[in-house]
């Protein structure tokens, strides 16, 4: 059905299509919109921090609560609509069925519903800017009672309600999406596609889908409970005796904000792995492709993916060391967190070793997707290594909620995640448009982004060590030490502007290449995984996913679905 309609491309078709590739592209376009808005918000924040009196376009002079609204919406957009939507739903919809030799998703309609729910969720979130009081100001974690009582601040009335509704819808969409991914991977693999022959991206999506089922169901419950506290006078999160602005809040029974923290972070930490596991799978695949070498220790890489997924569910308390959680619990979470560093390090060592062993055989010069993969690796190391520091409660008690943490998660989640997203877009662009992206622009985009990202986020470590807390709209006040950080923050703002400007190259490249880019041959990267096969739906797989060989006498790669005869 989709093929016939594809030629017409009526608006109706776009709205009702269940074609997984189209849905994948739609997801990625949504991510693109969200990342554009989120970046503009972050630039507004950065400018406000060093020039609080400057009039910003669309916004005017930003009041302190405006700054917090920017922070909240920036975080929400980036975490949910970029780092979750892009690598999980976007890329998986685009290539997952083909990678396992399926013609379509197991539940195409559910996939489409999930997409449109995500779009609605995004719209509801954006609407929060337009209502009275503006967007919520309590950060993307929205700790109650600040988020539970409308009087606690501007934006905490209708704006907060919209945030909760938006995220509730997003949870539903994610759970639907995960059910579809899981069902597809379990039931739609073609003949011969055993579990241990699945590409590592598929393994990553499998683990991610399981994590989503756990994490987003809990978040959905938490969001519903908080809405109920706000409007139905329940007391899940609100303790008695709340006095806001000198007025006693209508009596609440014995609720505890700690419950929200536990529920939120039980979602929030697996969420980090939901965002980064697909990137890790893609990194293994691309390193294999561009070094023309099999993935080193494929079962080992599968094991690290599973281990990260498993431990990812057990570490949420490391966000709560100083929150009032029992210090003994802090110890337990410190050990599980330290444990997750082991499989993460194993992945990194594996990738480094792949690079080393592929020194002779690798593609030269390095194409853009490979550059972004190396960028991912660099950020993953840079951001990952501050993880063990923050995993130690006694050190985290100093660094918690300072710029050190901001630097940590922007490197390992935001920059690593974005660079992997870029790698994926440059790599899979031919599947979306039939054309290759411009290499020259791509390389400029990479190098400028790499420099800009390090210049933006490395200095933040020092602001954090100096004790500057997050969410500070200004660097003034009765204490003297904050204003001394102004030169540092000014430098960071300039770097951030540079980094954001460099992304225009990507936009230009996208638009130009979609229309005029070099036409791609069937398998432009000479890859082994089946999304590059002409038609993989009738195939039977007889080999692993990374059959790259370095041998002058043979073709250096064999498509996973190629016949045995063909390789002889």
């Amino acid at each position: 059905m989709s093929l016939r309609l594809q030629t017409e491309r009526s608006p109706r078709w776009w709205l009702f299509t269940t074609d997984h590739r189209t849905i994948g592209i739609a997801y990625l376009l949504l991510s693109l919109a969200a990342v554009a808005v989120g970046t503009v918000l972050s630039i507004f924040m950065r400018i406000h921090l060093i020039a609080p009196d400057l009039k910003l376009p669309f916004w005017g002079v930003v009041p302190p609560e405006g700054y917090l609204a920017l922070v909240t919406m920036h975080g929400t957009m980036m975490v949910f609509f970029v780092l979750t939507t892009g690598p999980v739903n976007g890329f998986a919809s685009l290539v997952l069925p083909a990678q396992i030799g399926a013609r379509r998703m197991a539940l195409p309609l559910v996939n489409a519903i999930s997409l449109w729910l995500t779009v609605v969720s995004f719209g509801v979130l954006l609407a929060a800017f337009l209502v009275r009081g503006g967007a919520p100001i309590s950060g993307w974690t929205n700790y109650p009672p600040l988020s539970a009582i409308a009087a606690a601040g501007p934006g905490q009335a209708t704006g907060m309600d919209l945030w909760l509704v938006s995220i509730g819808i997003f949870c539903l969409a994610s759970v639907f999406g995960a059910i579809n991914l899981l069902t597809t991977i379990v039931s739609k693999r073609c003949q011969g596609m055993t579990l241990m022959r699945m590409p590592l991206t598929v393994w990553a999506w499998l683990v991610t889908a399981v994590l989503i089922l756990f994490a987003f169901s809990i978040l959905l419950a938490a969001v519903v409970l908080l809405l109920s506290d706000r409007h139905l006078a329940t007391s899940f999160f609100v303790p008695p005796g709340e006095v806001i602005d000198g007025l006693l809040v209508a009596p609440h029974a014995n609720g505890s904000p700690m419950l929200w923290l536990h529920l939120f972070w039980f979602f929030g930490h697996p969420e980090v792995y939901i965002a980064i596991l697909p990137a890790m799978g893609l990194t293994s695949s691309l390193l294999a492709n561009f070094t023309r070498r099999p993935v080193l220790g494929y079962p080992f890489m599968v094991a690290t993916t599973l281990a990260i997924g498993f431990f990812g569910l057990l570490v949420w308390g490391h966000h709560m060391f100083v929150s009032g959680m029992n210090p003994y619990a802090g110890t337990a979470f410190a050990f599980t967190t330290m444990a997750i560093a082991v499989p993460s390090s194993a992945s990194v060592l594996g990738w480094l070793l792949m690079l080393l062993s592929g020194r002779e055989s690798r593609v030269h010069p390095l194409p853009t997707p490979m550059l972004f993969t190396l960028g991912f690796l660099s950020f993953f190391i840079a951001g990952g290594l501050t993880g063990p520091i923050l995993a130690q409660p006694v050190l985290d008690a100093y660094l918690h909620n300072t710029y050190f943490v901001v630097a940590h998660f922007h490197l390992i989640m935001a920059m690593a995640g974005m660079f992997s997203l870029f790698a994926g877009v440059y790599y899979w662009f031919p599947l979306m448009t039939g054309r290759l992206m411009n290499e020259r622009l791509g390389k400029w985009h990479f190098w400028l982004s790499l420099v800009g990202a390090y210049a933006t986020f490395l200095p933040m470590h020092f602001a954090g060590l100096a004790g500057q807390p997050r969410h500070y709209a200004q660097l003034t006040g009765s204490t003297s030490n904050l204003s001394s950080l102004l030169p540092l923050q000014t430098g960071i703002t300039h770097s951030a502007l540079f980094l954001a400007t460099a992304q225009l190259l990507f936009l230009v490249n996208l638009i130009w290449s979609a229309r005029r880019g070099r036409l791609a041959e069937t398998n432009p990267w000479r890859a082994t995984t089946m999304e590059w096969a002409l038609d993989a739906s009738e195939c039977s797989v007889v080999r692993g996913p990374y059959d790259y060989r370095f041998d002058a006498n043979l073709p250096d790669f064999i498509l996973q679905c190629a016949d045995e005869a063909e390789q002889e």
Binding site: P64, E242, V243, Y328, M338, L352, E360, A391, S484, L488
Partner: protein, 249 residues
């Protein structure tokens, strides 16, 4: 503050801070070295070797087991050493003779309450909170213990004496953060958090709010002034409420 320390941790003024700073230093050194090493390796691996004619010595993933074991040991050392320090600082409450001070966070101020001569804090009730009338904490004046309570907007402590802070909040979650004391604890409404430490170096230390608490979050700042014991006693005496004469204990 010394100029060379501006972009680094502010000078430590707490007894337990010495060990924390040492641990932080070792961690930063170890992990920055790993960062540099990994990147040297990354660049070296990117150096293109001339194609050799010799048969390629295939690499095995088992080669990563040794460095992985090394890293695992490093992480284990970090976890254990940090855990021992954490246990020392947080597992046990303050000594019985520690100074008692109550910290109350509210949008967007910190209040500090000293129990006065009777060493007992008076009762507070939320419905009595009335800042314009001079009762920001809702002190119950009918409670005899409350008569000699001292309420201050700066935290003044004598050097060398352990203090037991009971941290609470009347509205939303705040973060009680004294960078110079290497101390951070959230103030959670409905709960009372205890944290204890010994300030050791006389000086003025900023107190910040480290948990976003509303539009005035960034200006929710106060001061800890660590003074000598005699100065502290003089301050207490000068701040003793005048109404205390009636309250006998």
């Amino acid at each position: 503050m010394r100029a060379d320390r501006v972009w680094w941790m502010p000078p430590n003024g707490a007894l337990h801070g010495v060990a924390i700073d040492r641990l932080m230093w070792w961690n930063l050194v170890a992990l920055s070295s790993l960062f540099v090493l990994a990147h040297i390796f990354l660049f070296a691996a990117m150096m293109r070797r001339k194609k050799s004619t010799s048969p390629d010595t295939s690499s095995s993933w088992k080669r990563e087991l040794l460095p992985l074991a090394g890293l695992t040991l490093l992480y284990a050392w970090m976890a254990v050493s940090a855990q021992r320090l954490w246990a020392t600082i947080r597992y046990q409450g303050a000594a019985p003779n520690a100074l008692q001070v109550e910290v109350t966070g509210m949008q967007f101020q910190w209040y500090f309450r000293y129990p006065g001569n009777d060493a007992v804090l008076g009762a507070t009730r939320p419905e009595l909170i009335n800042a314009p009338a001079g009762n920001p904490l809702g002190l119950d004046r009918t409670d005899p213990h409350s008569a000699d309570d001292i309420i201050s907007s700066v935290l003044l402590l004598p050097a060398g004496r352990e203090v037991d802070l009971r941290i609470r909040s009347i509205d939303v979650i705040h973060g009680f953060f004294i960078p110079g004391m290497r101390l951070k604890q959230n103030a959670v409404p409905g709960m009372e958090m205890h944290i204890h430490f010994t300030p050791s170096v006389v000086g003025d230390y900023p107190i910040l709010c480290s948990q976003v608490c509303g539009s005035g979050h960034a200006r929710m700042q106060s001061h800890l002034r660590v003074v000598s014991e005699s100065e502290y006693q003089a301050w207490l005496a000068s701040h003793e409420p005048h109404l205390t004469s009636g309250a006998t204990r």
